[in-house]
Symmetry: D3
Subunit: 210 residues, 6 copies
Amino acid sequence: MLPPVFLFLLLTLLSAADASVQDFCVGDISASDTPAGYPCKDVSHVTTNDFVFKGLGKAGNTSNIIKAAVTPAFVGQFPGVNGLGISAARLDLAPGGVVPLHTHPGGSELLVVTQGTILAGFISSANGVYYTTLHKGDTMVFPQGLLHFQINAGGVTAVAIVTFSSPNPGLQITAFALFGNSLPSALVEMVTFLDDAQVKKLKKVLGGSG
Amino acid sequence: MLPPVFLFLLLTLLSAADASVQDFCVGDISASDTPAGYPCKDVSHVTTNDFVFKGLGKAGNTSNIIKAAVTPAFVGQFPGVNGLGISAARLDLAPGGVVPLHTHPGGSELLVVTQGTILAGFISSANGVYYTTLHKGDTMVFPQGLLHFQINAGGVTAVAIVTFSSPNPGLQITAFALFGNSLPSALVEMVTFLDDAQVKKLKKVLGGSG
Amino acid sequence: MLPPVFLFLLLTLLSAADASVQDFCVGDISASDTPAGYPCKDVSHVTTNDFVFKGLGKAGNTSNIIKAAVTPAFVGQFPGVNGLGISAARLDLAPGGVVPLHTHPGGSELLVVTQGTILAGFISSANGVYYTTLHKGDTMVFPQGLLHFQINAGGVTAVAIVTFSSPNPGLQITAFALFGNSLPSALVEMVTFLDDAQVKKLKKVLGGSG
Amino acid sequence: MLPPVFLFLLLTLLSAADASVQDFCVGDISASDTPAGYPCKDVSHVTTNDFVFKGLGKAGNTSNIIKAAVTPAFVGQFPGVNGLGISAARLDLAPGGVVPLHTHPGGSELLVVTQGTILAGFISSANGVYYTTLHKGDTMVFPQGLLHFQINAGGVTAVAIVTFSSPNPGLQITAFALFGNSLPSALVEMVTFLDDAQVKKLKKVLGGSG
Amino acid sequence: MLPPVFLFLLLTLLSAADASVQDFCVGDISASDTPAGYPCKDVSHVTTNDFVFKGLGKAGNTSNIIKAAVTPAFVGQFPGVNGLGISAARLDLAPGGVVPLHTHPGGSELLVVTQGTILAGFISSANGVYYTTLHKGDTMVFPQGLLHFQINAGGVTAVAIVTFSSPNPGLQITAFALFGNSLPSALVEMVTFLDDAQVKKLKKVLGGSG
Amino acid sequence: MLPPVFLFLLLTLLSAADASVQDFCVGDISASDTPAGYPCKDVSHVTTNDFVFKGLGKAGNTSNIIKAAVTPAFVGQFPGVNGLGISAARLDLAPGGVVPLHTHPGGSELLVVTQGTILAGFISSANGVYYTTLHKGDTMVFPQGLLHFQINAGGVTAVAIVTFSSPNPGLQITAFALFGNSLPSALVEMVTFLDDAQVKKLKKVLGGSG
């Protein structure tokens, strides 16, 4: 058997090598972000809880018009993913529920259906249309930055786990970007070919001004 | 003065080091692409012309409905940028011309106005609206993957040089993605909140089916 | 309303820009891999099915000694993730089931429990121990390259969806790397401090020679 | 029509997802840089002006010996490009003007001639020479880190827009690196094979000491 | 000869371009790390010494049980490598010395033997075994994240220079991760298949509790 | 003890996961390079020898004018480093030996002196000069793309191991780029400020034409 002195010596060996080792970088989200993510929380304050997120177990509230809820576990909610190139969200779609057309500017998405049936698809730059009906256990990948959507395709609530190739993939819902802000109606019409009445109607619904 | 033998010896020194040196990788666009770009053309066949693109000097044809033309110098047209993280395009906007709302899934865009006046802007994930009028020499940057547009804001043709942080940034025009393909109208309506009549009208204009 | 000529003209506008656009790169896994992934399948042969994987809906066979099964949806099984920085797998753990200590050399892992209870943890370079019991819906992230494990911590089969920040994260099970190959016993003992009897016993069990 | 309650609910949906979304990271250049760029300015203080740079519209002052001027829009002058992998500069070359041999250690360069005629070229690691005369609208790409130059090749002032695959590409002018600092003459001679008189002459001109 | 005015003008030309140039980013290791490395030390305080590390010239103390010493020059000891994608260490192996099985989660390793003889090897994810005896001047590369080891294979002290493709590659010694911390013995046994007696014996030797 | 059936079952578990695992990608240097490196050699043909390079143990031939030799172990000579972000070379400097001013466009360099004394330094974009005398065991890092040099500073042959943050860093020796090719003398003079006589003298020595 190795003598106890081993412990002390191996610790010495390691102590030099381990100085500043960065296996992970739990985000200090109170500090300023950088292009590569948040500064790291001091490792002496890191605990197991930093690597665990409990919010995806609870159904999102779908009592809304789109009958859908997205519960994100991005770096803002789950600082343990900072710098690790991955994050997650839970998607709840009540019957009739829709996640409207949107993009994630910062990452690709991988969706796994865990309950129900979902009609999902994306559109490529070359204007190709790729959509299908996904059942429990089916997985679909949506390449970075492309327009995509998810719709409940069954009579019961559908649930999916979605993950992203970025701790902070972003979410830009097209309808909200067009109609839910101060972009003037005339400008929206010019860049979308939509009719004035249509734009003004949706601006009213989605809270846009101008 | 150094004796002539130097040449031979230095060449020998270099010949070992230079084997397989990859300063550049002019794309062999006849071969299959990879996630990092095209395989490299044999360096012995590379000439200065591979690094030069002459198409941006000629005005695009704006005799169309949007009164706009985009002339790309992406890797498909300009194989010398393969693997170099940059590409370009020329934008012509006749009076009244518009580049409709679009994204580049694969890169950020930097626009420099070289003639005329352009109203340009983008919308952030947080639904912030950033737009302004750009004059000759003004530069604007559009972060990767975000919806943006450009509109001629003067009485004469406007021209801009746009460059991208990718040899192949992609281009997804929202109206075309919505109305210019086989995505069924009912589906488009569900994911955009647009009215049926509006969708069908634009599908007819933009050539969509379904 | 815009005249039909628009279609032709916009198609022309797009046709130039779309040449060689690489929104995605479905892997041609019959070709040689590269450090950035497989060459792209010709886009004209790409269908929706390339972006869908149906294997995660079916329980893995846990009728084995470790009472566990891993069903991967890495690029080899799911070529649509090629170049997209993400992949997935399904983990089934029957009661008593264990995924032995292992690493993924090429990516971080994010685990979401979809059924049952799992004791999961990892060990840092600084020899910190981070483990906890995860219930349905709980998520844990395991930073790239660090030793980690998952154990069924309840009386019923547990299931998890795991995703990775790489299309091809790799999987190195420590016990198998030590005892399941031709690495000579004497060498294993030197580099692990394990006793000769222990090494030889496990080599026999795990099929190692030498 | 969707009831107004929609707005509140969609805002709720978005508010969770949008927390910490990093579409862009306008550089706070008063803070310390990092290897990935500057920390981000608080998004609530970001305005359209952060994404606009007006300095490239004005001719640089070429009333100097090299009859050339470079007006940079790098991250230091244009904080909006921070983290976006792109930046720009304007190049003015009066008749007889020269941008001396130089490299950009941190990025590739793409040049578009907007006025006049420019003789431009680069030298590869394998000592290949690639140079040509560029006219208005011609574009040339200079791969990262390689020696290159630009010379006015016409009788009138030439202007070019140059962009880079980095927000901070750097600029190392060979003559200035050799003769414009405190590197001792003897040392310069040893590493360049230049004659002592030549080195001392240029050190005097370019302000070098030693 | 160029007139002295040249100096002033060229300095002006450069002063604009050089603002914020980031050729290097010597790490301020007193500040919080980020996923891309430490914030940069102010360039006005950077000296040649920041780019020089003198610790690899001195033999490590191998008067320990494993008769081995690792002297790291990672970013924590050598802040000049911050952001540069490289670091180094010195390895001393007295006769009988062993660097136990370990991984570097964050980078590949390249080893050059500078004295003596070393038996070195690694194990792949596919459980392939790659090992050989290295003599003075021989070089071996160990791909990122894979288990590997080094053993003195001669009668005299062996020395190697090892470098890494990361300023902070990490070091996880398997035996220490298993037996040198608070991971409960029962848990270790489950995830490794080791016998209880073996685990407890090594926990005692390596200082583990539980 | 675990029954032998374990082996078969664990192998089954692994066989799925291991399909297409890419721990490493030994370069098939007979195939076309890509921007990310060479296609991978079939893993079934990979042997330990692919990860070992024996050429750095032998002194380079310094019987030349610069009394220096560089022996590279880049991907062209050492295909095992393909895709791993690291490579190496041996530097021999006889008394009076010089590695002339040069850059590596594709990577940072880390030098470790293993014999003798070397005067080494680099020049920054901001024209800062960083040089010092290195003794046996001293290490210096040269940031990517910056001009640097090494000179024997003692009376005996000096040797160094240099490694790079790229499998293919490139090597551009300034004097050779200026005087050793077909770049016309007049052009060299314009972009360097050197005198005609100096340029023509060195063109003759270094084999340049024009």
